[in-house]
């Protein structure tokens, strides 16, 4: 096999990696908001739930989480009489989202708490409910604060998608392994693999930067 023939299968894998990254970043961001807001909720039960989620998923290894969801969860399900056999794609997206969501939650919480107390007092004086304050005053000001950290998390997430190859999901790393198994041409295939990830990370970084600029323009929009 000539090295140019690697492109086809690698690009198929890259497409899976892109889908994984995009989907799990979106779900992860949603989880991050839920847990980040939950952690500063006044409701003790909600807070405890959020803290548990954050600590468990930040405190354990992503690969352990992935294997657990893929190998252990079905057995747990069987014991309970529920079908918890997740397809690799679902298990992969779940593990990645849950993991990045837990890291993102701390970012969201930090950004929310960085909004000045004056803003809360003004909202109180205008008789906003706590929920209205959160969504109309606090979060719009917190989002621009979060963007740089979210950019880093997205790149982290892109890199982490490589781990799903270990549960036989046909992503970029998996395809590369498949070709290497066949051709034993490690140098070429891994060099191409590293460069592809690097290129994807650069594009992702650029996109997050654009988003960041958009979002901060919306904060202090200069008509």
């Amino acid at each position: 096999m000539h090295w140019t023939e690697y492109f086809g299968p690698l690009m198929e894998g890259a497409w899976v990696t892109v889908q994984l990254t995009v989907l799990s970043t979106i779900f992860g961001a949603t989880l991050a908001f839920a847990a980040g807001i939950g952690k500063i909720s006044r409701n003790g039960a909600v807070r405890a739930l959020a803290i548990t989620y954050i600590e468990v998923f930040r405190g354990t290894s992503l690969l352990v989480q992935l294997f657990w969801l893929y190998f252990a969860l079905p057995i747990a399900g069987m014991a309970m009489g529920i079908d918890l056999r997740l397809p690799p794609l679902v298990a992969g997206i779940m593990a990645l989202s849950l993991n990045i969501g837990a890291y993102g939650a701390e970012v969201v919480r930090g950004a929310i708490q960085s909004v000045h107390k004056d803003q809360h007092e003004a909202a109180r004086a205008l008789n906003f409910t706590p929920r209205q304050t959160l969504w109309t005053v606090t979060i719009p000001q917190a989002v621009p604060e979060m963007m740089p950290s979210f950019g880093n998390l997205a790149v982290q997430n892109l890199k982490d998608t490589a781990l799903v190859s270990l549960i036989s999901l046909g992503d970029l790393a998996f395809r590369a392994e498949q070709i290497r198994n066949f051709t034993q041409d490690s140098t070429t295939i891994y060099s191409m693999l590293l460069l592809t990830y690097f290129g994807m990370a650069l594009v992702l970084t650029a996109m997050m930067r654009l988003l960041e600029i958009r979002v901060s323009r919306w904060r202090t929009a200069r008509s």
């Binding site: 003004a122 004086a125 205008l126 008789n127 209205q132 109309t136 719009p140 929009a221």
Partner: protein, 258 residues
């Protein structure tokens, strides 16, 4: 007595070991314009913040418009601590203008003013917009509606702050040193707006300020606070020209010297 729109009865307020309000008795009549003056740390802001329900109290009672502020009647006639619902009802009677304006930086001037009427009072967008534009007219900023706070001068920001508070149609308006964060040349435009309000509206106004000349001009009554108590009060004439307490005299001479 029934005329009192605001009443503090032996109100106590502590921060840790520090007693900030010490059995304070204080009242304001409907439509009255009252200025509060006094040295730093004497509890002036605290009085406003308690009224705006930004701080709770540790003893005594506060009545606004005949109803207890920090308590509400429980079924059996006794008082229980106010619920959030009660506080929201009471807050509807009050508006506040902050020293540092506290505008929402991510909203245009007009949206700063219309957001609460729409979300809290349930006005339609069109109604809120109309009300907002009238108020911007009143504070002389009709042409700045689409700007963002970061594009305004301090004096303009504070006038937006006043319009924002007025948009909620409060019966009582609280001002906490509305001009002390402003460059000297911008103070005048804000005082003008407040003066106009005082003249033309029957709003009850409670104003913490260091602008003695202005306090004298617009107030029906001036209260001199010292260490969590009212040391002396009276008409501006009485208090400024012939204070009866040494402490007041001392304070006034220090302030007017500057």
């Amino acid at each position: 007595m029934s005329e009192d729109i605001i009443r503090f009865d032996k109100v106590e307020k502590r921060f840790g070991d520090l007693t900030v309000l010490n059995k304070l008795d204080f009242s304001v009549k409907r439509g009255e314009k009252v200025s509060i003056i006094g040295p730093s740390g004497s509890g002036k802001s605290t009085v406003l913040r308690i009224l705006m329900t930004l701080e709770g109290i540790d003893g005594g009672s506060v009545t606004v418009d005949g109803e207890p502020l920090w308590h509400e009647n429980s079924g059996d006639g006794s008082l229980k601590p106010a619920s959030e619902k009660h506080l929201r009802k009471m807050r509807g009677k009050l508006g506040m203008v902050f020293q540092h304006f506290n505008l929402f930086p991510h909203m245009s001037v007009l949206r700063n003013i219309t957001e609460a009427p729409v979300k809290v009072l349930g006005l339609s967008k069109a109604e809120a917009r109309q009300r907002g534009e009238e108020l911007l007219e009143l504070v002389g900023l009709a042409d700045q509606a689409q700007k963002f706070p970061s594009q305004l001068s301090g004096g303009q920001k504070q006038r937006v702050g006043i319009a924002r508070a007025l948009a909620m149609r409060p019966s009582i308006l609280l001002f906490d040193e509305p001009t002390s964060a402003l460059d000297p040349e911008l103070v005048g435009e804000v005082l003008n707006v407040i003066g106009k309000l005082a003249d033309e509206h029957d709003l009850t106004m409670l104003l913490v300020t260091h602008e003695m000349r202005f306090a004298r001009e617009i107030s029906d009554r001036v209260c001199f606070f010292d260490r969590g108590k009212i040391r002396e009060e009276g008409t501006p004439e009485e208090l400024f020209t012939d204070p009866s307490e040494d402490r007041t005299r001392e304070f006034l001479s220090a302030v007017l010297d500057q």
